[in-house]
């Protein structure tokens, strides 16, 4: 076993912290994540990069409370993100790598159901869903069943769904993998907008452009945190 790595404090601007403390993940004898300690602060976009299979998705899942760390803990605002059943806390939102859209629902319904789950009234949920789809330039696809959409369109529906709920923590797993350059930049801008709103934003990516656009950067390799980059300018925002 490797010794716990020193804690890395990623950002220090806002009070609400997403903290991973000595988090380790082992599954089926495979050490997916070696113990590591990380802190993500609100108001910043953190890029989590690394080659495929390095553990980005696993790290995001533990941070978001979808997975329980084998040892160590993930907390947000002082309480554990893992709730015991793999369900995320309501202030968390995800852009999953596989989108996780509900095939039998339309694009609008996929977005609005996330709002409805948080108690938003049906009509307001539909309105906000349409606005979010517009935000990602797919407002005209609201009535289409997601099965009928292309990969990039689905990815943007997944983004719209995650952004719609105005979560305190937004965890995006390769949200731009299927997007063209213009859309990628647009998504990054929106991520920054979310951070500016005060959210903790973490983006897993292997796209250098996305890493460049982030405020901070953590590099994973084979489950180890090999590097992290502090922002040059604290609180820098990329132009929208």
């Amino acid at each position: 076993m490797t010794a716990p790595e020193p804690a890395v404090d990623v950002g220090s601007r806002r009070s609400a912290l997403l903290e991973l403390t000595d988090v380790e993940y082992v599954i089926g004898g495979l050490q997916v994540l070696h113990p590591m300690t990380l802190r993500f602060r609100a108001g910043e976009v953190t890029a989590l990069s690394g080659p495929s299979g390095s553990g980005k998705t696993t790290l995001l899942s533990i941070a978001g409370g979808l997975l329980r760390a084998t040892s160590g803990s993930a907390t947000y605002d002082g309480t554990l993100t893992w709730q015991g059943d793999g369900d995320p806390r309501p202030e968390f939102a995800f852009v999953l790598q596989v989108y996780g859209l509900v095939p039998i629902l339309s694009a609008r319904e996929n977005v609005s159901i996330a709002l409805r789950a948080r108690g938003v009234s049906p009509s307001e949920a539909d309105e906000r869903a349409d606005a979010e789809l517009d935000r990602f330039h797919i407002g005209d696809l609201g009535d289409r069943q997601v099965e009928e959409l292309s990969g990039g369109q689905m990815q943007r529906v997944a983004c719209a769904r995650a952004f719609a709920v105005r979560a305190a923590v937004l965890l995006a797993d390769e949200p731009t993998s299927e997007l063209d350059e213009g859309n990628r930049e647009h998504v990054m801008a929106q991520l920054h907008a979310e951070a500016a709103r005060g959210a903790v934003v973490v983006v897993a990516t292997h796209d250098p452009a996305v890493v460049d656009a982030a405020d901070r950067h953590c590099l994973l390799d084979e489950g180890r945190l090999v590097d992290h980059v502090e922002p040059v300018v604290v609180g820098r925002h990329r132009p929208v």
Binding site: T57, S61, L66, L67, D85, G86, D87, P88, P90, A93, F94, L96, Q97, V98, G100, L101, V102, P103, I104, L105, E109, I113, A114, R116, A117, R118, P122, Q145, E147, E148, R161, V165
Partner: protein
């Protein structure tokens, strides 16, 4: 080898396809075999074949669907044409082949067992070409269905196949066409079946329940989608609880796809169960009407001996009753049956309770008692009559007997053996005569065969007596009973015979026209009868109206002569008689009429619980033969071809029900993967596991209600429309009518059962999905 490994890797899917194939083959093989053995049209298997094709089609299609990626890869590797198609169909075809073999084995076993149990003894099963053909047809149709389903997959865009992404299926024109065919087919077959009627058996009529069920299932499916689409627009349907359910129901027919097969199976079961119950009730009623009682002893020696034997063996009237049935002498359908009304209620009242003939007991009890037959028993007969007068003439002063006014009386009666007998008084040889007062003499003769009861038919006079000095009979004791006192004897006047009779002061005076008889000669003529022309009470069927003879309604009596009747009432059907005939009081009809016309079916009926001593006494009379029982008649009726046909339909309905269950399970199993993803997705956006489970339970409930309601409506309609059109019984033109009214006691539980099955399958299959599908499972490598 590769195929076998592939089959194993998808063993869940393979197993349901295999089981369904086995079931359809076994069912078709078995029902064709059974049909052949019991002389039914093998077309009866067509219903199962139809449902089998629908079930296999959906399962084969989803089996091919699971291998879209594989097919795409094969295409990518450059496979085209037949080789590509083979790579698509190899797996289901191999499964179907194995299933066919297994189905033949299962069908063989089942038929063997069934033949031993249900068919007449000595019928053994060895498969003939129709069975092999049936198995072959199922296999061929299955392969055709698989090829057609795969054909579609091989022509989808390759990219979709490789990505494994499901594109929503638009209703394809081919499928739509088939659905329209089912609807039109259902209407046409029902019309055709109703036109043809039960006497004309063809595959169209036999197929119609299954086709109707499928059509109703399709309609239910469409209706449900429309309702779900409408509900999705309402507030309630938009509540989070129903949000996913309503949208699933109208957008994707995956869980609802089982509706047509399930409803068709329920309809088939409803029709089969109703047919069985209706036909068996008919068989029971018919056997009751035919046998007349739990036990029926045949009597050869005529109605009277049956009547007397029953009363002799059972004086109390609790167990035995005589009856005599006569076919219509004109060859028509009018039957006359003579029964003993005083014993009806006791002996057969409860036997007929609940049948169409059950209401007649009180009507029979209301038959007048007055004119009842009185039988006589005893061993001697005696007569007190005036002495012979001797007329003399003096010849040379010496009185010479010139002639003597000699008279004799013959009493005709029917004896214990039903034989018309007579006894002469005074007996030949003038023995047994003794003085009985001034000018009177008593003569006595022995009687034989009058132990249980004889019936007197006629008094005859032979001899000569001048009017100025008639013969006078003051007493006539037949077996201890004075016939002259009883009043029932009617003096007969037949001027043509030259014999005159007059009743005076309790005596009969008899004289003859001619008084020239020499000794030993004279006139012969009837002097008294026990009149039979009195109208006897009868119950008749409503149709037809009785003939009138001389202004009186009449039938042929027991001895075949005209018998006036007074109709006490009319009813739709009568025991023994069916829907055309009359039930007549045997007590009245036997008066003065001891002989029985030929062609009669005379019986002594007995209760099932008749004590052995009573039976012994009855058998000891020597007039009854070996009894037949209602149970035996029912058993025989249940062996009829039509009964076997209905039984076979039940058997087919059972197979269809299991097939529908398998289809439901397969469909649910197919959805589990997709639903896991769906549940994980929903949980990742904040829906609770419990809420998701609840929405699946709601979906199960909605499906159950749809299935139950549609099955109920369709089952009722199918029974209404088709029971009268199916060959369920061999009802003659004048037999009992089959009660074809749908029985809700059967239809409702079957419909509810179908709904419950769907609900339970769906609920069990998806019970834990909400809980076990954590959002973390949404990973590429776990899908």
């Amino acid at each position: 080898m590769l195929t076998i490994r592939a089959i194993w890797s998808r063993r869940g899917r393979s197993l349901t396809l295999f089981l369904s194939g086995t079931l359809v083959v076994a069912g078709c093989f078995g029902s064709v075999a059974y049909a052949r053995l019991s002389d039914i049209s093998p077309a009866v298997a067509s219903a199962l074949l139809l449902l089998g094709v629908v079930a296999l089609a959906s399962q084969a299609a989803s089996s091919v669907d699971l291998r879209r990626g594989e097919i795409g890869l094969a295409q990518l590797r450059g496979r085209t044409g037949p080789r590509l198609l083979w790579s698509a169909v190899a797996e289901p075809v191999v499964i179907l082949l194995v299933a066919t073999a297994a189905g033949i084995g299962l069908g063989w076993l089942v038929t063997d067992a069934v033949a031993a149990r249900w068919l007449a003894a000595g019928v053994t099963f060895s498969p003939g070409w129709p069975e092999w053909a049936a198995a072959g047809v199922v296999f061929a149709v299955g392969v055709l269905v698989v090829v057609m389903a795969s054909w579609r997959t091989t022509y989808e865009t390759m990219l979709d196949k490789l990505v494994g992404q499901r594109r929503p299926r638009r209703a394809r024109t081919g499928l739509l066409f088939l659905q329209v065919c089912v609807l039109v087919g259902a209407i046409v077959t029902i019309y055709q079946a109703r036109q043809a009627g039960p006497r004309h058996i063809d595959w169209v009529s036999l197929l119609s329940p299954a086709l109707l069920g499928l059509a109703c299932g399709l309609v239910a499916l469409w209706l449900m989608r429309v309702l779900a689409a409408l509900a999705a627009k309402t507030r309630a349907g938009n509540r989070l609880n129903w949000f996913v359910t309503t949208r699933r129901l109208f957008r994707r027919a995956d869980s609802a796809a089982v509706l047509p097969v399930m409803i068709a199976a329920a309809v088939l079961a409803a029709v089969a169960a109703n047919a069985w119950v209706a036909a068996d009730a008919w068989r029971q009623d018919t056997a009751k009407l035919a046998v007349g009682a739990p036990i029926s002893y045949p009597v050869r020696s005529g109605a009277l001996s049956a009547y007397t034997a029953s009363r002799y063996a059972d004086p109390s009237g609790r167990w035995l009753m005589s009856a005599a049935a006569f076919p219509d002498p004109t060859g028509g359908s009018y039957r006359r049956v003579f029964v003993d009304p005083s014993r009806w209620q006791q002996v057969v009242g409860d036997f007929y309770a609940g049948t169409a003939a059950g209401t007649i007991a009180h009507r029979l009890a209301a038959f007048p008692q007055s004119a009842a037959l009185q039988t006589v028993t005893g061993d001697s007969v005696s007569m007190v009559a005036s002495k012979d007068r001797i007329f003399t003439k003096k010849h040379d002063g010496v009185p010479v007997e010139r002639y003597r006014a000699r008279a004799a009386v013959s009493i005709f009666y029917v004896d214990d053996k039903g034989v018309l007998a007579s006894v002469d008084l005074p007996p030949h040889g003038h023995d047994n005569q003794s003085p009985a007062g001034p000018g009177l003499v008593r003569s006595t003769a022995r009687l034989t065969d009058c132990h249980r009861g004889c019936v007197l038919t006629e008094l005859q006079f032979t001899g000569a007596a001048p009017q100025r000095s008639p013969m006078s009979i003051t007493e006539l004791r037949f077996a201890g009973q004075n016939l002259l006192g009883s009043g029932s004897l009617a003096p007969a006047i037949h001027p043509d015979t030259g014999v005159h009779v007059q009743r005076a002061d309790g005596a009969l005076r008899i004289w003859t026209d001619a008084f020239f008889s020499f000794y030993g000669y004279g006139s012969t003529g009837q002097i008294g009868t026990w009149p039979l022309n009195r109208p006897v009470a009868a119950l008749t069927t409503e149709q037809p109206k009785l003939d009138k003879v001389g202004g009186k309604e009449s039938v042929y009596g027991i001895d075949g002569s005209e018998q006036p009747v007074s109709v006490v009432g009319t009813v739709p059907v009568l025991p023994f008689v069916g829907s055309q005939g009359a039930l007549i009081d045997i007590r009245q009809a036997l008066v003065g009429e001891g002989t029985t016309a030929s062609g009669a079916h005379v019986v002594v009926l007995a209760r099932a619980d008749t004590p052995a001593s009573v039976r012994q006494r009855l058998l000891a009379t020597g007039v009854v033969g070996t009894p037949t029982t209602y149970q035996a008649a029912l058993l025989k009726s249940r062996q009829q071809t039509t009964a076997q046909g209905v039984r076979l339909y039940l058997f087919i309905a059972l197979f269809a029900a299991v097939l529908a269950l398998l289809t439901a399970i397969a469909a649910a199993a197919d959805q589990i993967g997709g639903r896991r993803q769906e549940a994980a997705s929903l949980r990742s956006v904040g829906l609770s596991a419990r809420g998701i489970s609840r929405s699946y339970r709601r979906e199960a409930l909605a499906l159950a209600v749809a299935v139950a309601a549609a099955s109920l409506a369709a089952g009722w309609f199918a029974c209404r429309a088709l029971l009268g059109a199916l060959p369920l019984v061999d009802a003659g033109r004048f037999g009992l009518a089959l009660d074809t009214a749908p029985r809700f006691v059967l239809i409702v539980p079957l419909a509810v059962g179908a709904g419950v099955v769907v609900a339970v399958v769906v609920a069990i299959a998806f019970r834990r999905i909400g809980r076990t599908s954590a959002p973390a499972s949404l990973r590429q490598d776990l899908q």
